[in-house]
Amino acid sequence: MSAVQTTSPVRQDDTRRRSPAAEVLSSLMRSGTFLTGLAIVLFWVACALFGEHFAPYDPLADDIINALSPPSAEHWFGTDQIGRDVFSRVIVGSRDILTVAPLATLLATIAGTALGLLTGYFRGIVDDVVSRILEAFMAIPVVIVALLAIVALGTSKTTVIIVIGLSFAPIIARTVRSAVLAERELDYVAAAQLRHESAFHTMFVEILPNVIPPILVETTVRLGYAIFAVATLSFMGFGIQPPSPDWGLSISSNYGMIGGGFWWTVLFDALAIASLVIGVNLAADGVHGAFND
């Protein structure tokens, strides 16, 4: 772990007093894009954590007599086809997507980082073969992979996490690999090899701390796509399952009546997904900018 604290040889000519991490942080705090995105994301995280306490109704409680009533003073966003309060459901509906999408992104980051380190460090035939397979795999849409996995393994949050995690891993691996290719030419890697450090040590203790910035950037970008994918799979009925008030799932169970003019049963969920996806992407854009200034 000590390698994390010691500055690598590349940064020794750096005359600035502050550490690179503090530099990035202060740049982030000055980025309007990042702060806007962060505010949106934190709002939904707060809703996921404490939503139940300020939601006016129980998001799962039905009330058939008041089904499909339009937005009013009692029900700000109206009620759905079995009379559940849409406002309460939208607030609490962030919970599942904000659990599944980050876990999928985490899995993708861990698997992708390991693959990227291996292919970038060893190069040669292993790299050629693995990289080709990963590139080919990247061309297959997540929805198709998900359809196959769900038919074979059944629907569950775990399946969704594994499908999205494994689908995104090659993309992170590609980013890590190209960063590793540049790092492994540097003197500190040669020094570690001369000390007869194991390949494992060189990859994970020497190189990994120095490729953290591109990994962080790629992870935040992937989180946006993971939310996209989780919402889509839930809408298709292959993701989060009823009675969860999840947004994609709510849209999927209510959009059939859209022709009847019951717009409030789907509009607010759609806007919630849109705001979360845009928020994460704004934040990711800010992170990207902070590391590449």
Partner: protein, 309 residues
């Protein structure tokens, strides 16, 4: 090209594993838990699922190539006509989306680059980026509400009346094509914009301007041709995304395309239908990539394959 063949091979392995190996005992699944073991074995033998995996895979691919896609578990009739019909419908939808998005996306990118860092550029770039990151069903729902429910300009379902002519079909396809348009617009505009910026900044553009060519000629003859090459590659790589989007959009608009075909097949565990549908999509993807490679070489005189030297 070789890469898309690897993709196709990988996809066929995944389809084979997901559809034929992982679900376990096919005979038992069809006959139910109370059937006699001998009956299950007999069915497995007649379906050929008790043979070695490699043989099964080879037979499956060989039959597919000859046009025998198997028999649907649900419709109890050959799969091929369903897949061909659905593919035709999807092609119509994709064609409408592509015909709209390619020129408009390129135009958007070019306009943005010519107005670099001015408000028009900001609007196109930011607008394009924000609609690109939204899931298709979210933009789809919002567009249905605006144009189908509130304004009542366009039908909210893509199922056109029987014997509808070309223009009626087109009218029904505009709303489903719009979400696909929005997702692709951002990518294409961004690529066209960065290609334009690079070309505008190049030495050959400066030379063309300095030797006194009119600005219009410089743009048409020198800048656009070089700027749009990377865009064509991007359009080709977006075929994969487009196909993923089709599954969602066809479900949302109840459109009988290849996307909703594999979706319905997956829900009903109709494996022959699912496998053939996905493999067909893979072939379409590989062909699209091939066409893009060809177009790229036609438009780029530097890599005219095989003719020069």
């Amino acid at each position: 090209m070789s890469l898309s063949l690897i993709t196709l091979f990988l996809l066929s392995i995944m389809v084979f594993l997901g559809g034929q190996v992982l679900p376990g005992n096919v005979g038992r699944a069809i006959l139910g838990p109370f059937a006699d073991q001998r009956a299950v074995d007999a069915l497995n033998h007649s379906l050929g699922v008790d043979r070695p995996l490699l043989t099964q895979y080879a037979t499956w691919i060989w039959n597919f190539v000859r046009g025998d896609m198997g028999t649907s578990y649900i419709f109890r009739s050959p799969v091929a006509p369903f897949v061909i019909d659905a593919l035709g419908n999807s092609m119509k939808l994709a064609a409408v989306a592509f015909v709209l998005v390619v020129p408009i996306g390129i135009l958007g990118g070019v306009i943005a680059a010519l107005n670099l860092n001015r408000p028009l550029d900001r609007i196109i770039s930011l607008g394009g980026l924000s609609v690109t990151v939204l899931p298709e069903f979210v933009t789809g729902i919002i567009l249905i509400l605006i144009f189908g429910v509130w304004l009542r300009w366009l039908p909210i379902s893509a199922a056109w009346p029987k014997d509808a002519g070309f223009f009626t079909q087109l009218y029904y396809l505009i709303l489903p094509a719009l979400p696909l348009f929005l997702v692709l617009f951002g990518y294409i505009a961004r690529m066209a914009r960065s290609g334009m910026i690079e070309a505008l900044d190049s030495d050959y553009t400066r030379t063309a301007v300095l030797k006194g060519l009119p600005w219009r000629t410089v743009i048409w003859r020198h800048v656009l041709r070089n700027a749009l090459l990377p865009t064509i590659t991007v359009i080709a790589t977006q075929t994969g995304y487009l196909i993923g989007g089709l599954v969602v959009i066809e479900t949302l608009f109840r459109y009988q395309g290849i996307g909703s075909l594999i979706f319905t097949a997956a829900r009903g565990k109709d494996f022959p239908m699912l496998e053939s549908g996905i493999l067909t999509i893979g072939i379409v993807y590989a062909v699209a990539t091939l066409i893009a490679d060809f177009l790229y070489s036609v438009l780029n005189p530097r890599i005219r394959l095989g003719t020069d030297q």
